[in-house]
């Protein structure tokens, strides 16, 4: 369908995204080559487990950024839902399912509140979410003053391992030995979960009128308004979806660690890392350009860089410094834009 020109145009329009994907593939492949047990299921499972939470939070951050705003509460909402999940994920299968739904709804409801404050309160997103982030942490501390909690062991095991273990735990597909499951048996479940959310939630949203309106608002809110697009609905939907995605991260963190932890520092770190991941993934902080899939790759790049420290013989004390320098260099590539600008005024947007 797409000719050569079509591919070229796609590349020009999605340069940031394409760079992120390429960078991730190169980094991850090199990592596996260097790793003594590279390209094995065990390594993939471990890596993916450590990436899921930040990947979801980065996807959550993408939506407010596309609007031209910023959500400083994503880490806090993830922490809140993490604590909610640590209270609810045990008992009969029906109870667990209800717990999962309630956790996701908590996040979505919090996002809805953010959206309503931004739309009807007309407060800048960055400052509104700074405040609601404090509220989310407060609620998390109410639910779980001390770290701890109880999560169903089967669920915790099945969702943090390979597809084989999932089938084995719940006894379907002949306990994971069925012939049709073989090709997929080594895939880590967390990878499937992230892809599922990305393609069942994000992609349809992006293609809907509401999703396109989010991009339009980020590009030019006035123009979007004059074109009759549903601005209020799109903003509220974007924040609600952001809350939902953050809740996915919190839910997974609870399943992975079998506990909840209302840690303010951790919430702040997740928020800041999510911004870095969004930028690395090719989404513009000015709004209107990018997407959640890019942020997914941005988050993976951030994580892979830290994986390198395990296999390379680098002084652990230098790790934070190298992480910082790599982040700074990566975002500095955006400066190439300034070299191409012919008119100084084009810089001031």
């Amino acid at each position: 369908m797409k000719g050569k020109a079509g591919i070229r145009r796609w590349l020009l329009q999605n340069l940031g995204f394409a760079t992120a994907v390429l960078l991730f593939i190169v980094l991850f492949a090199t990592y596996n080559v260097l790793h003594p047990r590279g390209f094995s299921s065990a390594v993939a499972i471990q890596n993916s487990n450590e990436t899921v939470a930040i990947a979801f939070v980065a996807m959550a951050q993408t939506l407010p950024v596309l609007l031209g705003g910023l959500d400083l509460s994503v880490g806090a909402v993830m922490t809140l839902t993490n604590c909610v999940a640590s209270e609810l994920l045990y008992g009969s299968p029906a109870q667990i399912l209800l717990g999962v739904l309630l956790t996701l709804m908590t996040g979505a409801a919090f996002g809805l509140m953010n959206g309503c404050i931004v739309v009807y309160g007309r407060i800048q997103p960055i400052i509104a979410t700074l405040a609601t982030g404090a509220i989310a942490i407060g609620l998390a501390l109410l639910i779980r003053p001390k770290p701890g909690g109880k999560v169903d062991d089967d669920l915790s095991w099945a969702l943090t391992n390979s597809v084989y273990d999932l089938a084995d735990t719940y006894g379907f597909a002949d306990g994971g030995n069925a012939w049709w499951l073989r090709p997929f048996a080594d895939i880590p479940v967390p990878v499937i979960l992230v892809l599922l959310v990305a393609f069942v939630v994000w992609v349809p949203f992006r293609r809907s009128v509401t999703g396109r309106t989010v991009y339009a608002i980020g590009s030019a809110e006035g123009a979007a308004y004059m074109s009759g697009l549903p601005i209020h609905r799109a903003k509220i939907a974007a924040f609600t979806l952001g809350g939902f995605l953050a809740a996915c991260g919190g839910l997974y963190l609870a399943i992975q660690t079998s506990s909840g932890n209302a840690d303010i520092q951790q919430a702040g770190a997740y928020t800041l890392n999510s911004i870095a991941a969004v930028v690395l993934g090719g989404t513009s902080l000015l709004g209107g350009v990018g997407g959640a899939i890019g942020s997914l790759f941005g988050a993976m790049i951030l994580r892979v860089i830290s994986f390198y420290f395990r296999i390379l013989d680098i002084d652990p004390l230098l790790q934070p410094l190298i992480e910082g320098v790599v982040l700074l260099l990566a975002v500095s590539f955006g400066a190439f834009r300034t070299l191409r600008v012919k008119n100084q005024l084009d810089l001031f947007r």
Partner: protein, 316 residues
């Protein structure tokens, strides 16, 4: 008779009224429990201002950057790096070293934002991470000197005429910032650049220099706060600046400065800092658990902004 207040002063008036309300509520609480009014004693208020000085100085610098429509997320580790490097050098050179670190970080931030044109949100975040890495690498393996020098102790803890020296430092920084903003070309350039950089550029303002200047001011303020905080806690330690970033932004915005730049008065930032400091203090007197404090803190910011911080609706 209806009181008329200029729109730019409304946040300041309302926030001041809210400070009075906090003090009244706190006093009512202490009257009902112990029958005394410690909150209204000058000593208590001076002590609050003394601990508020660190936040106040950070917020003063942050305001310069926010007036440009930018943000400085590197404040926590600029503060820490300045303090830790200063104590490691020690002696008479400690305070100049801290200021030099602040200047260097400010120049780096300014260069990234003004010349490389990377959004300040992400560039200062990267600088913050890098500074943290530098400090971890510096203190790793061996323990550098981390005790406060006598000058730092004097600045943070001593009193002149019964008033803590830290308050004088805060007042001096405030005076300088207020004079810059209202009486100098640089100050007016900040407002102009924050309103619309393109227009400021076409009017002959060297907007890049203005941006660098604002970031340098912010980092210098963070360094000064680091010096004071080291004196106050008698030593410099990792993570000492973490508690100042979000409250500083909140204080600036509560004081009526627009987060997208171009509007705001320094008096508002002062009132915003005092509001946050007193709110925290009264909540801890009431023995409110951390959970309740966070919720009230968030609700107050939202509530105050709903009263006076609302944007124009987009209609065209």
């Amino acid at each position: 008779m209806r009181l008329s207040v200029a729109p730019e002063n409304r946040p300041i008036v309302i926030a001041s009224l809210f400070i009075a309300a906090i003090l009244a509520a706190g006093t009512a609480y202490t009257l009902s429990t112990t029958g005394t009014t410690p909150l209204l004693s000058p000593n208590y208020l001076l002590q609050q201002l003394q601990t508020g000085a660190f936040l106040g100085i950070c917020a003063a610098g942050m305001m310069m950057v926010i007036l440009l429509g930018q943000i400085d997320l590197s404040v926590p580790w600029t503060l820490t790096a300045a303090a830790m490097t200063a104590t490691a050098v020690g002696g008479d050179m400690a305070v100049p070293t801290a200021l030099a670190v602040g200047l260097a970080v400010g120049l780096l931030n300014g260069f990234g934002v003004a010349y490389l044109r990377i959004p300040s949100m992400i560039f200062t975040l990267g600088v913050d991470t890098m500074l943290r890495g530098l400090m971890v690498a510096q203190t790793g393996g061996f323990a550098p000197q981390d005790t406060a020098t006598p000058l730092m102790l004097f600045l943070a803890k001593d009193r002149i005429l019964g008033i803590p020296v830290a308050i004088f430092v805060w007042a001096a920084v405030s005076l300088v910032i207020a004079l810059i903003l209202t009486r100098t070309g640089f100050g007016r350039s900040i407002y102009a650049t924050g309103s619309r950089e393109g227009a400021a550029y076409l009017s002959g303002i060297r907007t890049k220099w203005v941006i660098v200047g604002a970031f340098v001011t912010s980092s210098l303020c963070a360094a000064i706060a680091g010096v004071l905080l080291t004196g106050y806690s008698a030593k410099a330690y990792q993570g000492m600046g973490n508690a100042f970033l979000l409250p500083a932004i909140a204080a600036v915005v509560l004081g009526g400065t627009h987060i997208l730049g171009g509007r705001g008065r320094y008096a508002g930032t002062l009132v915003g800092v005092i509001l946050i400091v007193l709110l925290n203090s009264v909540l801890s007197i009431m023995q409110m658990p951390e959970a309740g404090r966070q919720i009230i803190y968030g609700a107050v910011i939202i509530g105050m902004l709903l009263v006076y911080g609302r944007n124009q609706q987009v209609t065209s």
